[in-house]
């Protein structure tokens, strides 16, 4: 049992990071903290992919002419793509937070909800487009 814990430590780490990330997204009301939580969640996915690419006894996948066991290079490429997607999402999310701050004056979700509710109440019609 302890053996399973120690030998699969990377998978335990992945699960802990994934749950931490999701918990932060759900429980924190500050918009920037939500984005940070999302990043932690995505990092756990990167570690998942890299873990499954490692071949035990394998070395870096660069052809040098000597016959040897190589680790799988495909997951690394997949993760590069996923990292770029993560960065684009973070940049976009933060840009939206900057605009929300300029428009509402706050980045706490509760205060924004209060502002939006009062905006709905003050519009007798149901709003603009």
């Amino acid at each position: 049992m302890v053996d399973a814990l120690i030998s699969h430590y990377n998978y335990w780490l992945i699960i802990i990071l994934m749950m931490l990330g999701l918990y932060i997204v759900v429980s924190r009301g500050n918009l920037v903290k939500k984005i940070v939580g999302l990043n932690i969640f995505q990092t756990s996915v990167f570690i998942l992919y890299i873990s499954l690419g490692k071949v035990s006894g394998g070395t870096a996948p660069i052809l040098t002419g000597k016959p040897e066991t190589f680790s799988n290079p495909l997951p690394h490429v997949l993760i590069l793509t996923a990292i770029v997607v993560g960065i684009a999402t973070t940049a976009l999310g933060l840009a939206l937070v900057v605009r929300i701050r300029e428009s509402y004056g706050t980045i706490e979700e509760d205060d924004i909800l209060i502002a939006e509710r009062s905006q709905e109440v003050s519009e007798p019609n149901g709003g603009t487009v």
Partner: protein, 500 residues
């Protein structure tokens, strides 16, 4: 000419992709109108390519195109078969019809110096959606899904000039959409861990002996939840009403008709081609997860729609209900049920495209889409409101419209599966749709105390023409449904007859 024909699958994605940076270069000189015109031409070219692909696949054989000349299990493969080509036609078709409408609508709703970047994001969204549909590689689906999702968040946020709640709507969609896409990636990672391949056809082969593997079960669960978030299956639909309501009109027309449908397509692809309905855990999912959630979606969506005062939000909740119908068809797992889902992908695109475009015309004249400001609009904007009511009839499922065709096959499917109480529920929720369409009819046509200060006249012909094209298509495919039902039956038999 032959070069073009041989490379059609990749041109379908590569042309909008290369159009996006070219569109950015229009900033040198500030050619706003040229950006719109260029986007229009690219959409029509994509539509022609999609039509060519569909006719080739229906009349001859499935197409497989290896990117970079690396043969399929090793390289990325673009694979076109009837369901693919059908969805490609829907995406490019809606884009081709919506863009003439866009010229005036975008002029009014978005600042002038943002037009060029708006059309660039639109082209990237189109690229992403077309890419998700045509690719045969699981990770490539994720990449294109994220391209389309990121551009969608940008497009929704451009509605900030009309209402600042567009920003929070885009932010919430960003958080939920990214969680959905990351779940999808985790699922793909687990499947890759077990089989060693990312190609969809190859995954289907290698997963056959592995139906007891726990990693496969976990991968399946992650993929289903991830795509359910993206397709706004109840209760993961919370991003949809705000996103559709506060986005600019063109964006709502395009997204309501395409983005959730593409996610339904991906789910169908994974459920039926990769996993196959013969697995126990897939069957159990249908019966215990999709069926109750679909029924809840149908009723929760329709009932919430009845109480809305903003008509755009009303139709957004109605979309949640329509997605419930699609998932109900999937969960029945028989031929009429699956045919209903595939038909509804097409029909819902036509219905919601027409409805949101009509609302876009109303917004162009009035600046608002609230129910109370639409008093007496039936007299001052007869063509627009006529289109809205006809689209509403299609939504209810009146015989002669496309809505009826999908509901008919759905009821046939439920009866064939032996679930006759559900057939009654389907009819019941269609009656709920009557209630909210009647609300609009009442306000637009039967109100007598019209606000005399509000002078509105009909919208220009460039906005009416695409609208009525969609309305006429609603009725044409409702009366002569041979082509669509033939394609749907073809696809359903392939999916249920053993996959791939």
């Amino acid at each position: 000419m032959n070069i073009i024909l041989a490379h059609l699958p990749v041109l379908q994605v590569a042309i909008p992709l290369i159009a996006a940076p070219i569109c950015v270069l229009f900033t040198f000189g500030g050619h706003r109108k040229l950006a719109w015109c260029f986007t229009l031409v690219i959409s029509w070219v994509s539509f022609l390519i999609a039509g060519a692909l569909l006719s080739h696949v229906l009349l001859e054989a499935d197409i497989s195109y290896a990117i970079g000349n690396w043969p399929p299990p090793f390289g990325i493969e673009y694979r076109v078969d009837p369901i693919n080509a059908f969805v490609l036609l829907i995406i490019s078709g809606i884009s081709a019809i919506a863009l003439p409408f866009a010229r005036l609508s975008v002029e009014k709703e978005i600042e002038n110096d943002r037009h060029i970047l708006f059309y660039t994001s639109y082209l990237l969204c189109l690229t992403g959606l077309l890419g998700v549909t045509i690719t045969g590689d699981a990770f490539n689906i994720f990449v294109f899904l994220e391209i389309s999702s990121l551009s969608t968040y940008v497009l929704i946020a451009t509605g900030v000039r009309q209402d600042r709640r567009a920003l929070t709507a885009a932010y919430n969609y960003l958080i939920l959409g990214t969680i959905g896409a990351t779940f999808f990636v985790i699922g793909i990672g687990l499947l890759y861990m077990v089989t060693g391949t990312l190609n969809i056809a190859d995954l289907a082969e290698r997963l056959k002996p592995l139906s007891d593997n726990r990693a496969v079960h976990a991968g399946f669960a992650f993929i289903v939840i991830g795509m359910a978030l993206k397709l706004a299956l109840f209760p993961m639909h919370v991003w949809l009403p705000n996103a559709y309501t506060y986005a600019p009109s063109l964006v709502t027309v395009f997204l309501a008709a395409t983005s959730t449908k593409v996610s339904v397509y991906v789910l169908l692809r994974f459920l039926f081609t990769v996993f196959g309905p013969t697995y126990d855990f897939v069957d159990l999912t249908f019966e215990f997860v999709f069926l109750p959630l679909a029924l809840l979606a149908m009723f929760a969506g329709s009932i919430t729609a009845i109480f809305q005062t903003n008509v755009k939000r009303l139709f957004a909740y109605s979309s949640v209900a329509q997605l419930g119908y699609m998932m109900l068809g999937v969960s029945l797992s028989n031929i009429p049920g699956l045919m209903a889902t595939i038909l509804h992908i097409f029909n819902h695109a036509l219905m919601k495209g027409a409805l949101f475009m009509a609302l876009g015309c109303v917004a162009y004249r009035l600046g608002t889409v609230s129910l109370s400001s639409m008093k007496g609009l039936g007299r001052s904007m007869p063509w627009t409101m006529g289109a809205l009511i006809l689209g509403g009839l299609s939504l209810i499922g009146v015989p002669g419209t496309v809505g009826f065709i999908s509901k008919w096959h759905l009821i046939l499917g439920t009866l064939e599966a032996g679930y006759w109480p559900i057939a009654i529920l389907i009819v019941g929720s269609s009656l709920l749709a009557v209630i909210y369409i009647w609300k609009i009819v009442e306000v637009a046509y039967l109100e007598n105390d019209v606000d005399q200060n509000q002078v509105s006249k009909e919208v220009p012909i460039s906005m009416l023409a695409p609208l009525w094209v969609l309305v006429i298509l609603n009725f044409y495919f409702g009366i002569d449904a041979d082509l669509t039902t033939w394609v749907a039956r073809n696809v359903a038999e392939t999916f249920l007859g053993g996959g791939a």
